[in-house]
Amino acid sequence: MIKFTLNGRTVETDAPATARLLDLLRDEFELIGTKEGCGEGECGACSVFVNNLLQNSCLIPIGSIAGADIQTIEGIIETEQFKILDESYSIAGGVQCGYCIPGMIMASAALLSENPHPSEAEIREGISGNLCRCTGYNMIVEAINLAAKKGDGL
C-alpha cells in the first residue's frame, strides 16, 4: 500500500509500485486534467508538482512517491495564481486545442513561483519541456508575461 498526499488529501493505493503516477491520477483518482502526450517525458502534458517541483508524471513510478506531496492542475485551480494565469492565457489567446494547457499552466505556475518577473528568455526556458502544436508558443509566452505583470509576485 502506497500512501501520499494528493491535492491536499492523504490518499492510498494498492496499485503496483511501477505504475506510472500519470495512470494512477487519471484512472484511479479520475483527475483527468493531467494529460498523456508522448509518455516519454518530452512533451510536458502530464506535468504535476511533486513536493512543489515540476515533474513529468509519466516518468514517475508510484513506489518512489510514498509520503510525497502531489499537486495536479485540479489542485491549484482555486489559487490566486491560477486565476491570473487563466485570465492571461485567454486574453493573450494562448489556448487553441487546449491539450497541452494543463501542463503549460503547471510549468507557468512553477516558473512564476520561483521567478515572479521572468524575462522572455526565462519564460521560454520555463516552458521548454512543454510542447504545443497549435499556437507556435508566442501567445503562450505573452500570456505568462501578462500573468507576471498582473500577478506581481504571486
Partner: protein, 288 residues
C-alpha cells in the same frame, strides 16, 4: 490479471545494500530513463524484469562535499540540485542548463545518467574530460573506478549486482581550466543528442598544460584519446593551422558513428569534427 511486482524502498542506504546483496535488483533513481525503456501501453505499468529498489529518497546519496580538494557528488543529486549547489563548477552548471528541461532536471539524477550508459548520455562527455571517478559501495566495502572503465558499452556497466554507485568524484584540477560542452539535437530542450562534445583545456603562460576531449553519440561509448591529447601538450596558443589539422585528422580516423533514427553517420562525423576544430581554433581560453 495483475502481475506480482516486488519493490523495495528502504529508509537507509545500508539496508538497501543488504537487499542488493541478497538479490539481483533493478535500481531506480529518478526513473526518467528506466520508465521509458520498459514502457507498456497506456494504463499498464512498465514491465521491469527484476525486483525493484527505489533509491532517490536516500539522503546519503544526496550529499555534495569536498574531500582532499576533490569534489564528491552524491549519485542521487538531481540536475536541479546540482544547479543550486555552490560547490558545483560553473562549467558544469552551464552544461546542465542545456540538458533536458526543468521538469526532468527536477527528477533525473547524475548517477542515473551514468548507470543508464547511453551512448548519448548527456553528462558523459563532461565527466570523461573531468576524469571523473565513481565510488561503488556494497556490503563488502567500497571500490573506486574511472568512469571510462565503468562504462563498457551501450547500457553495459561494470557493476556487480550487490554494488551501487554512491558518489561521483571530480578530481581536483590545479590552476584555471576552460571547459566547454556542446550538444547538437533536434530541439533545444528534452532532446537526445545527435552529437555531443566536451573540451577541457588548462593553459599556463600561453602554453597548453593539459587538454582533453570527449565526443558523445558517435560510438558505443564516449570517444576519448589520451594519445591524441598528448600531442598538444606544450603547444602555444593560438594553435598553428597544421597542428589543428593533425588533431582533426587523428579523430577523423577513430570517430565511427552509425546511422539511426536520430541522425546519420556522415552528419555526426562532420559535426563532431567541426566542434573539435572550433574548440582548437579559439584565440584564447578564458577560465570558467
Amino acid at each position: 490479471m495483475i502481475e506480482k511486482i516486488t519493490a523495495y524502498r528502504f529508509e537507509r542506504l545500508d539496508e538497501t545494500l543488504s537487499q542488493l546483496n541478497r538479490e539481483d535488483c533493478a535500481i531506480i533513481a529518478g526513473g526518467t530513463d528506466v520508465m521509458v525503456l520498459h514502457k507498456s501501453r497506456r494504463g499498464v505499468p512498465p514491465k521491469i524484469p527484476k525486483p525493484i529498489v527505489f533509491i532517490n529518497h536516500l539522503s546519503e546519496l544526496k550529499q555534495v562535499y569536498q574531500h582532499h580538494k576533490d569534489l564528491h557528488i552524491g549519485a542521487c543529486c538531481t540536475y536541479s540540485e546540482l544547479l543550486e549547489n555552490p560547490l558545483i563548477p560553473f562549467a558544469l552548471k552551464n552544461a546542465i542548463k542545456t540538458i533536458a528541461a526543468p521538469a526532468i532536471r527536477n527528477r533525473g539524477t547524475l548517477g542515473g545518467n551514468i548507470c543508464n550508459a547511453s551512448p548519448a548520455g548527456d553528462m558523459l562527455p563532461l565527466l570523461y574530460v573531468y576524469n571523473a571517478k565513481l565510488l561503488l559501495r556494497s556490503v563488502n566495502g567500497d571500490r573506486m573506478v574511472a568512469i571510462s572503465d565503468f562504462i563498457q558499452g551501450p547500457r553495459q556497466v561494470q557493476r556487480f549486482h550487490n554494488e551501487m554507485v554512491t558518489e561521483i568524484i571530480l578530481p581536483f584540477v590545479l590552476g584555471d581550466s576552460h571547459v566547454v560542452f556542446e550538444k547538437v539535437g533536434n530541439r533545444n530542450a528534452d532532446t537526445i543528442a545527435k552529437v555531443s562534445f566536451a573540451g577541457f583545456v588548462r593553459i599556463s603562460k600561453d602554453r597548453i598544460d593539459d587538454i582533453r576531449f570527449a565526443f558523445g553519440a558517435v560510438g558505443p561509448t564516449m570517444v576519448r584519446s589520451i594519445d591524441i591529447e598528448k600531442k598538444l601538450i606544450g603547444k602555444t596558443i593560438p594553435l598553428a593551422d597544421a597542428d589543428i589539422a593533425e588533431i582533426v585528422a587523428a579523430f577523423d580516423k577513430i570517430i565511427r558513428p552509425i546511422d539511426d533514427q536520430r541522425s546519420t553517420a556522415a552528419y555526426r562525423k562532420t559535426v563532431a569534427l567541426h566542434l573539435l576544430r572550433y574548440f582548437l581554433s579559439m584565440k584564447q581560453y578564458q577560465p570558467n
